[in-house]
């Protein structure tokens, strides 16, 4: 009897200790100091080798670029219901600029911007219907990026088949990339056959299934595709790595220059259809610091990543065509996504 109770007592004491620890100071951490920049990710990680990572690199770059001492820190969102809370954590901490990444945070960002007119907000991939003075939506014309990549692929393919392994059609940027890619390929190579596949699973798995990405890329290679566009987080990365194992085949990355984020893809990675999120974020942070940031929509740059090891196979003629395409896209004479 007695010993039993003693152990229960001991257990309660340990619990009490933990509670005491918990009620202790929570001020040791925090990130304040100088000009503080906060970044809230979409439900993803700052090292996702994709847009969260790009945005985080941009935030760090922005912090380094501005003249005053500045710090950048991030919170990775676990559940989309926490968007508002995670933004609030930075607000409470006195952040001057808050970067929110992904269209999912759009509404939470607008709410926070309205409530905190003194804080500058940068919303990556967030379209602004009504401009708020302290909120810049950083948008990218993905179809344009996809079109340029497709145009290159149309010229490079020898089998006249190009493939795309994609995240999910539930996420519009993925659709824009795909449509741009296919139209671009057809633009430079009218005979080209485009074969594209979306991940068949739900939103929760579509970007995290490299096995499917790899298997599907292989399936496309086996039926003659010699250039594969992998667009869709880890799923797309799986496709890139698969193509890397096929002699002679090429692959195209997405979002950032995947030469640096997926080194396994070096044997095939001819370029990436880039959204220069890091550049855009850093630039907007600079503007915010300088007080020149305008509310509303800010269009970031898109483009093709360097060809790296494949510089040699892209002929001058191809480069010239690409320049024409780029010019056409810029002046609107080419519509990357008709309809």
């Amino acid at each position: 009897m007695a010993p039993k109770r003693r152990h229960l007592l001991a257990l309660l004491m340990v619990l009490g200790l933990v509670t005491a620890a918990a009620c202790g100071s929570d001020d040791g951490g925090g990130v304040s100091g100088g000009y503080s920049i906060g970044l809230v990710t979409d439900t993803g990680k700052v090292d996702d080798k994709s847009f969260n990572q790009s945005a985080w690199e941009g935030a760090q770059q922005g912090a380094a670029d501005i003249p005053a001492s500045a710090t950048a820190s991030y919170i990775e969102t676990e559940e989309s219901k926490d968007y508002a809370n995670n933004i609030q954590l930075f607000l409470d901490d006195g952040a001057k600029v808050i970067v929110t990444v992904g269209f999912g945070l759009g509404e939470a960002t607008i709410e926070a911007a309205k409530a905190n007119p003194d804080v500058m907000f940068i919303g990556v991939d967030q379209w602004q219907d009504d401009a708020l003075p302290n909120l810049a939506g950083l948008m990218f014309p993905e179809a344009t990026a996809g079109f340029m990549a497709g145009a290159l692929a149309g010229m490079l393919t020898e089998t006249d088949i190009v493939g795309a392994v994609l995240g999910t059609d539930l996420v519009p940027p993925v659709v824009f990339f795909k449509e741009g890619w296919e139209n671009g390929a057809r633009y430079t190579n009218p005979d080209v056959q485009t074969i594209s596949t979306y991940h068949p699973g739900g939103l929760d798995v579509a970007f995290g299934d490299p096995e499917w990405g790899a298997t599907t890329a292989r399936q496309a290679l086996d039926q003659g595709a010699d250039i594969i566009f992998g667009a869709g987080g880890a799923t797309g990365n799986g496709a890139l790595i698969e193509v890397a194992g096929e002699a002679g085949a090429l692959c195209v990355g997405v979002d950032s220059d995947q030469w640096f984020t997926v080194p396994e893809a070096h044997p095939c990675l001819v370029t990436s259809a880039m959204k220069l999120i890091d550049v855009g974020v850093a630039e907007l942070i600079g503007q915010a610091y300088a007080g020149t940031m305008q509310g509303g929509n800010f269009f970031g740059e898109v483009g093709l990543a360097p060809f790296h090891d494949f510089d040699g196979i892209v002929t001058d003629e191809m480069r010239a065509t690409l320049d024409d395409v780029m010019a056409g896209l810029a002046d609107g004479s080419i519509n990357p996504m008709p309809e």
């Binding site: 229960l8 257990l11 933990v18 040791g28 951490g29 439900t43 676990e78 559940e79 989309s80 379209w127």
Partner: protein
């Protein structure tokens, strides 16, 4: 009474403590301070009215998810399908919530809740009916139905029920009408109150009604239940439908009370946490409440923990797995604490009447 209550909670409590202690070691391994991390966790979950609201909001679907698992456990069934049942409940509740207008709240809100509950009941009932008629194991069927539900609800929210207002590009439904929105009373969301009421109702049904007696009989001894004239197949099918209904109700409360709409990918994982909660509560419907509050608190505080201490929020998942492990294998706790074994220490998925 208090002695026996103490004994009943000793194992889950010890499991939580052990989980946190091992979690502390992991935090140290990341060169962070466990004290800072845990205090941030608690402040993030209880620090002020907003945090408390978030904890309650997070606990609400966990209670429903936990009940969905616990109720099925009572009939000896393992419902891993809480996720899918919650999703269909969420999308159909939202569908009624935004698709119908002009109704007064007293009609509209209950109708939307019932739509979610029914959708969940159908989803759970499929697994139960297949088990009863063909013997198909509910674990496999509910897992498969989770995938199917994910695809189905994604499609619904991206196509026929998509929110086409403004420049929305997200796969989500329009906002539900005000008349279908669950209000908040002060700092307490009404959905949480509903969860408490439903948990109490589950307890009452299981312990005090003839239906509950049949459910528990099937759970404890399917053969004896059959011999005493209970229609075992019907009980298995209906129990899974009730379990699905509970999860579906959880999804409905999320759509109508927290998110204001259904959005693809937003409710991921909620259903699975019900398993941890139900086991932590030893399948007792009332025990589900504190278990859900605990997990809800950890999840509400996880962001602050990363913010203050730089600890990745996945730590919470690891701690949950550890707690589950210790609850499932109480023998380890007994060994460490040198407690004497007794029946209440076994993870019995159901017990006699509350004759303690």
């Amino acid at each position: 009474m208090s002695r026996s209550l103490l004994r009943t909670v000793a194992t889950p409590l010890a499991a939580v403590v052990f989980g946190l202690l091992i979690g502390a070691v992991l935090i140290l391994s990341q060169n962070a301070s466990p004290i800072t991390a845990y205090s941030a966790l608690v402040v993030g979950g209880l620090g002020d009215a907003d945090s408390l609201l978030r904890t309650l909001q997070k606990a609400t679907p966990l209670i429903f998810g936990g009940l969905a698992v616990a109720f099925a456990f009572k009939a000896g069934m393992f419902n891993i399908g809480g996720q899918g049942q919650l999703l269909v409940g969420a999308v159909f509740a939202a569908g009624v919530g935004f698709g119908v207008d002009g109704l007064p709240m007293v009609v509209h809100l209950p109708a939307a809740l019932v739509a979610g509950a029914l959708a969940g009941a159908v989803w759970g009932g499929i697994a139960g009916a297949l088990k009863a008629t063909t013997g198909a194991h509910e674990v496999i069927v509910t897992i498969m139905l989770n995938f199917v539900a994910g695809n189905l609800t994604d499609w619904l929210s991206a196509n026929p029920w998509k929110d086409n207002s403004g420049n929305n590009i997200v796969a989500r439904t329009p906002l539900v009408e005000d008349s279908a929105t669950i209000p908040t009373l002060g700092a307490v969301p009404v959905g949480f109150v509903l969860a408490l009421v439903v948990a109490a109702a589950c307890w009452f049904v299981l312990e005090r009604t003839t239906y509950g007696f049949e459910v528990r009989s099937v759970g404890h001894n399917r053969n004896a239940a059959q011999y005493s004239g209970i229609k075992v197949g019907w009980i298995m099918a209906s129990t899974m439908a009730v379990a699905g209904m509970l999860a579906g109700l959880g999804g409905a409360v999320e759509s109508l009370g927290v998110d204001g709409r259904f959005e693809a990918g937003v409710n991921v994982g909620l259903g699975f946490e019900g398993i941890t909660i139900a086991l932590l509560a030893r399948a007792n419907p009332l025990g589900v409440i504190p278990a859900a509050l605990l997990v809800g608190l950890m999840e509400a505080g996880a962001s602050r923990m990363q913010f203050k201490a730089g600890v990745a929020p996945e730590l919470i998942d690891v701690i949950q797995a550890l707690i589950l492990f210790f609850v499932a294998a109480p023998i380890i706790i007994r060994w460490v604490l040198r407690m004497r074994a007794d029946n209440s220490e076994q993870l019995q998925l159901g017990a006699g009447w509350g004759r303690s």
